[in-house]
Subunit: 283 residues, 4 copies
């Protein structure tokens, strides 16, 4: 990532000539396409395109943007341009369990998450030592003050630390509709069940009593419908019927941490397209 790079995402109704229009716009602005992925969802006649390109001698970002505006007008495109020189600032909200926090911090340390992590926030003190081992400030909000006051404290911290995206790494509290609306499509949650099957509390207990043969976890955007927001990534693990609920929980931890990190990667690499309540991941 030592060279300059942009990612362009485009969403619009399907039509002939879209890829040519996009690639011409990049080429005539002196951009060199590094990677192009696109998909036409024929079931709903929508077109999604994601292009990585490098600016070459003579590239002017404002020039590119005004060319894309013409495309947008002609084709009804919704588009975004991301500059890889600018990293998102991601806050981690946690509670008492450490496996997701550790995983995000370790993958970040390993250079696999394109973001900064300026702050860890929790309603319990338990995980403070882990955050500080990784040299990240840890703040505890006080649940005894009530949800509204807690959320106000969190919102202030997010503002103070210039946070762009929030990761609920097993936060275990339900955020208010006001909070999720304010941060719409910017809060990524890990649910420890294979949605939409086991919403709400104790999904592993639900799964055990139902006798399912495969359990899973889901990374999704949090919105005001609990565990119903658009799904980003999922994975599963086969269990057998000699496992106890406690063993489900242990096996589930490995799936959760993996799913959360894979979900974050897709967000931070601009692979997620949202349309009519679901995601399209274009890689």
């Amino acid at each position: 990532m030592n060279t300059k790079k942009y990612t362009l995402t485009v969403t619009c109704p399907d039509k002939s000539g879209l890829i040519a229009a996009i690639t011409n716009c990049i080429a005539s602005s002196k951009g060199n396409i590094l990677n192009l992925a696109q998909h036409t969802a024929t079931d709903i006649s929508m077109f999604f395109c994601r292009v990585d390109f490098a600016p070459e001698e003579g590239f002017e970002v404002e020039n590119f943007k005004s060319l894309m505006e013409k495309n947008a007008g002609e084709f009804g495109m919704v588009w975004h341009l991301f500059d890889w020189a600018k990293k998102s600032r991601m806050a981690l909200l946690v509670s008492k369990t450490s496996h997701c926090l550790y995983e995000v911090l370790l993958k970040h340390q390993d250079g696999q998450l394109h973001c900064e992590i300026p702050i860890v926030i929790s309603n319990h003190p338990d995980l403070c030592a882990i955050a500080t081992d990784f040299h990240i400030p840890f703040f505890k909000v006080d649940p005894e003050k009530g949800k509204a006051a807690c959320e106000a404290d969190i919102l202030n911290l997010l503002k103070e630390y210039s946070v762009d995206v929030v990761c609920l790494a097993r936060y275990m509290q339900i955020l208010s509709p006001e909070f999720t609306r304010k941060w719409e499509n910017k809060i990524i949650n890990i649910h420890h069940g294979f949605l939409p099957a086991f919403k709400g509390a104790k999904p592993y207990h639900q799964a055990w009593h139902k006798g399912v043969k495969i359990i899973g976890a889901t990374a999704h955007f949090a919105n005001e419908d609990l565990d119903q927001g658009p799904i980003i990534y999922q994975d599963v693990v086969r269990i057998n019927d000699t496992k106890s609920i406690e063993e489900f929980v242990l096996m589930g931890k490995d799936v959760e941490r993996k799913v959360l990190v894979e979900g974050l990667k897709r967000y931070l690499n601009h692979n997620i397209f949202l349309h009519e309540g679901r995601t399209f991941i274009i890689e």
Copy 2:
């Protein structure tokens, strides 16, 4: 399977001494244990045990049964003894899609399903040629006569052909509560969705619109709650968001046929223990 073999299954509340009691009963009846699998579900304090044994010189089945009755009284055991010389007779109910029918017939031909298949029943004529290619009589019931008359015809055929177990190999009709109660825990259905997530009609459409990243299929006992009966086997396949609903359907077919056959194997090999609305598969 050229030698004599029995399978014993035992279910009871957990207690000290159960395995010793069972193995002693077999040994003192002159049975030689070939395989023993057992599980104590600590979450509900229940014990499940499955033993394969071969009768040796001097084994008398009635003698064995009366010894087991004493155990049953002492420990509250529910037990069954299956003689592998006797094969179940399984009817296949189908509709228009052939992939599950083919799979069951091919695995049966390959010796992987311990049963006889004396009859294929359908409400459409389309798959008749396949059944007869495999030398199995095919009967068409007439949906225009109404559900009650159709089911009466099916019940008569099941009786006439001495059927023990019914496999719904994509039958696509909802059986009446009277039918499912009469054949309780003897009807195995393949649902083309990962239960309990997508019950009812068009599960792949539901899954696509929800944007799930993994789809699946479920073999389960049919009961009066549609697609809610105890789960026997499940499998999944990862999809990506460039797949259309039609492609979900195609990918799903391979999962369905595999899941159905794996479910049937567990039934026919006496691996399924039912307890409080869920199965425990002991292998």
Copy 3:
């Protein structure tokens, strides 16, 4: 597939401007891009691109070809244009086991393999009935005549039936170097082991004695080095150590048939790029 469609594949050393050159060539020939997938293998600085496009009013294939020739000269491109109106003609070579033959015929019947299957050839009579059930002529070559004579007979049949590609669906004979050279990159074999681990005969026996915990199968191009040709597709299944060699074989069958069909799909859909002895599958 009721509308006209072309697939273009391009391989060349990586360079700036490749995607723009290709998309411009298509657009200026009046082609409408339906799908574009591309990959730059940074480890070897090679570029691979696959484009589906539909001809629009005014498209002339010869015009397109001469434009692409200019690109080819400038960028060192190797390119192919496939017209989807023309189906490949695929011969199936089989021996005694039926699972791969059935699978290819069923998937073909289901419309999942874009080819014609004009002929089935075997060195044993066993599978004749299956081929004829699917209305495909079956020819037996006589192994007692010796390998050279057999292969001569096969080559004559391939010519007579205008065959383009050969599928070894568990053929179990080693083809001579003369044969594989003549049909280089046009013979697809299914090997019942996870290459490069278990080459040659009885891979499941080898795997069992080694005590591996996962077994697999590999679809690959056959060349003169036995089981060493470029790999097209692989899949695996977890086994546990209570399985016998015979059970490995049974479990392996399901993997083999799936892997073979997935390999054939990638060939027939023009997803396979060959470079320096390995494939790049671009989807």
Copy 4:
């Protein structure tokens, strides 16, 4: 694990009456069987059995042992009795990469590895901080002293810290035959390739150039044949051909750490039976 528990493992040639003999021995010694798993490997006529049992009022371990000795004489049994009150002491040997070290320490902290970890040894100082964060003494041996001197230092440390089992958590040095013979079947290595396919150095490079579609990792006992020792656990991940070698390495890390921990669990829970150069994992 707060109650007393023993695990008995038995290996012998297959014969009628083995399970009855074992269960009778436990019952007559006043042991209560908690779990029994057994397997007869019909391909080699060998019997493997693993029993967990709790001592009840009147159980005497010496009494049990002398009863088992009689069985051993009669049936040719090789048997071991493990007391769960006694934990193995496992040394971790590491080099510069941290993912396996972190994983073992985190799973140990989470109570999933039944052992003590008294020491971490490395030939590089890089991972010292991690070990000490988890309050485990870290020792650096000096590679400049030469392999023999280094190994002598390691052997002294293993003795000093009363180590029972050695885990090579990406140690990256080849141990001498003297070392591996001395610690035969007590050194568990993680190899970052799917053995037996890619032995030796840079397995991900080998895999990439071969064009395999699935990569994996293998936990195995280290012996004097490099990467040839008995396999304990394996897992794989599907890759696609748009991945670079560097991405193989990153994806591989997650597989490696998982496989290593799963291998260690099977060792520490006494699930591994060794016979004729391969393992049988009985769970």
